[in-house]
Amino acid sequence: MATLSNTQTVQVGKGIQKRDRRRRITMGAIFLVAALFIWVVFVSNLEPGVTTRFVMNPGGGSAEAADWVFPAVTYLNIIATICALLGAYQIVRGFGKFTYGVLALVSILFIFGFLSWATAGGQTNLAGLLRIMVVRAVPLTLGAMSGILCERGGIINIAIEGMMLTAAFVSTVFSSLFSNLFIGLLAGVLAGGLMGLIHGVLSIKYKINQIISGTVINIFATGITSYLSSKYIQKVQYQYLNEPGMFPQINVPVLSKIPFIGPILFSHNMYVYAMFFFVFLLTFMLFKTRWGLRLRSVGEHPKAADTLGINVFKTQYMAVILGGMMAGFGGTYFSLGSSGRFDEVMTAGRGFIGLAAMIFGNWHPVGAMGAGFLFGFFDSLSVRASLLQVPLPSEFLGMAPYLATIIVLASVIGRGHAPAAEGEPYEKE
């Protein structure tokens, strides 16, 4: 490996060029297909003069905003044209490092188009939809960031689900015992960190395959939380252990008064603000600090990192423990931020979707949050599917994020974007 000859290097370079070109064209084709889809499916099914009405007030909010009424066909034509232009440019020249940003833009346009079409002739509460989207994105984004922390350090973490579930349980019990939400939060975060440590011991010290180690943690977490739950906190005489309370809604001064945006973004409980904070913090830490550089170098090439004096094992333990704590924080959202109690298997697969959000977001916190919003949107939409004007079963709307993940994974990401040394236990020589 150490002696790559010149010709080999050139060939590798050519290979990457070819791959990049293919990826560029695929992405452009996706944009074009989106445009075509809007024209063929949406526009052609509408009467020319029909209007779409979006309610811009989630209801019960402090800000008032007028409804947004517009002619559906005109707007759809504009959207489709923009998508087509972006697609053409992407195929011919490529957006380079802005490609993912443009992908996000096209996704938003497409979804907006879908919504305008599905609402045409009636009305949809857009503000309510987006508000729920933000809420639903929280556990997914936090879970994805747990995955990013671990995987940037080279440890695959499919145990996010189990870590979240454990934290949800522990936080419920501690918060109820001490009647203090913050003690519950702390206990949940620490429980997540402990699960991370176990994952680390199994996969770093004992070198178990990381996917198997994650599976062990998931099965164990499901078992132990359900066991203790049905043994204790679901029973009437222990009911006091399952009354943790909930973090209150905080309306950000001034900002929450902004029409439309205020109620969507600035009147939530602290988890939404924490999500934005952690996304910012993790992006900064990963890409702008020495700490992040070291972590990423361990994930990409542990041997080189070791040669340069970085303690690979220590870094990896830190990564999984911090990742566990992040998942733990996300887990407490279920009990302390969303339902105010613990129920068996209450995470309901969100940890796995968080994992998908991480991959969708290309192992980047901001991308993961974008993916979290995308999944959250469909989650929020599938609940309201019956209110739409088109007869689309909610089950199919519910499938959309998973289908989208598969398509993006297969067409754009495919091989090679994950940290290079991921999944391989490091053997010190």
Binding site: I212, S213, T215, V216, L403, R415
Partner: protein, 411 residues
């Protein structure tokens, strides 16, 4: 050790030497340790134990031991049967009493059957270096297609209808395995993620199927019609024993997977792709083809698990079909060292545990979730033999103890 015994080893010490290095001992000790820790957990979550400890230390210890013991006795009688009751039933000679007494044993076999299919599915994937987490979804789809063939295709004799319905189940699962397989082979999309996504798609698709196209028009809630008599897997005993033909089909499939993996060229190629893809590529093995076919076969086996449940046990498909069989299958395939015989044995273990735990919940009030905890502990110990070898001070294995060789997202 005395010198004389070292010089001249008798057969027993040679056997012990080999045995203590072998993987089998590790597995047995892993199961033992897991069950032991499960007993500790049961004891420390029982209030009577604390009450007894308040009186005296030894009394507390005795109560703790008794609690754990009672739990496992109830697990045993729930999964195998109560020996006294069985002998009493045979003495009485009443067929119904006998059937009721031996029912727990056969019910455990019924519980094991989908595990065998599912475990084989996961094991086959592992052998090809693929981690099929999608078994749960494939079971759902297999159940849907199997039940459809069972009620919608009419006018066939049993001898044709049963294989046909099982085949449809396999077909549905195979389709659900084919998609991640072809994506993995052609684009490198990692099967762990795609199969998880396919799981969720399957759950929602089956929900929708049950609500609309496959719904029994005579029912208010979403249920499929009953499977026709000609498609029902025959049972060997009268009620209440539900032991049916599916168990033997599962065993047959295990034999087929064994022959395929270890006695055919293609199986060798598959295992080579799994253990060393680079070597396989240089040897001219078509990795794309092998990956796709492995996923298809894996999905087909999982689909048969679903078909087996609707054709052998439930006779119709209900929304609450979810069973967790798919996720347990991962654990038991690893426990069985991804070998068909190992899969059968660990499926039996899991089936007996699952069935016993249900009656355990009823009789001594220990939640059924104890089984998941046992499974996780056993799996952890089997996957990390070093833990067991350290606890029991065993010597290192002569063989490399790699369970499976899985690669990361990169593919």
């Amino acid at each position: 050790m005395e010198k004389s015994t070292e010089n001249k080893k008798n057969s027993i010490s040679v056997f012990w030497d080999e045995f203590s290095r072998s993987n089998l001992l590790v597995i047995l000790l892993a199961i033992f340790t897991g069950i032991l820790l499960g007993g500790v957990l049961v004891a420390i979550t029982t209030n009577e134990v604390y009450d007894a400890f308040r009186v005296s230390f030894w009394g507390g210890l005795g109560t703790a031991f008794k609690t754990a013991w009672n739990t496992y006795v109830s697990l045993f009688t729930g999964s195998v049967g109560n020996p006294q009751r069985i002998s009493a039933a045979f003495e009485s000679g009443d067929p119904l009493t006998i059937r009721r007494a031996i029912n727990p044993f056969f019910e455990s076999l019924v519980q094991s059957t989908p595990y065998i299919f599912g475990g084989l599915a996961v094991a086959l994937g592992f052998r090809a270096g693929l981690f099929n987490i999608g078994v749960e979804g494939q079971i759902f789809i297999g159940a849907a297609t199997g039940v459809w063939a069972g009620y919608a295709i009419t006018g066939l004799p049993t001898i044709i209808h049963i294989p046909l319905a099982m085949f449809f189940g396999a077909l549905g699962g195979a389709l659900w395995g084919f998609i991640p397989g072809i994506l993995k082979a052609k684009t490198g999309a990692h099967e762990v993620i795609t199969t998880i996504m396919m799981n969720y798609i399957a759950f929602r698709l089956v929900d929708w199927l049950l609500k609309f196209p496959m719904k029994d028009p005579n029912e208010v809630t979403p249920k499929t019609p009953w499977v026709l008599d000609s498609a029902i897997l025959p049972r060997f005993f009268d009620s209440p024993i539900r032991f049916h033909l599916g168990f033997f089909i599962a065993i047959l499939m295990a034999v087929a997977v064994y022959l395929l993996l270890f006695k055919t060229t293609w199986g060798f190629e598959l295992r080579m792709v799994g253990s060393n893809p680079n070597a396989a590529r240089y040897a001219g093995i078509k990795i794309t083809m092998t990956t796709v076919v492995a996923m298809v076969l894996s999905g087909a086996l999982a689909g048969m698990a679903g078909a087996n449940e609707v054709l052998g046990v439930n006779y119709r498909l209900l929304p609450a079909f979810s069973s967790g069989y798919g996720f347990d299958s991962i654990a038991l395939a690893l426990l069985g060292k991804t070998h068909p015989l190992g899969v059968i044995l660990s499926s039996l273990l899991f089936g007996f545990l699952r069935n016993g735990a249900r009656s355990m919940q009823l009789s001594v009030g220990v939640p059924i979730d104890i089984v998941s905890i046992l499974q996780a502990l056993i799996l952890a110990f089997v996957a990390a033999p070093a833990i067991i070898r350290t606890i029991y001070r065993l010597r290192e294995s002569k063989h490399k103890e790699d369970l499976v060789s899985l690669r990361s997202w990169k593919g």
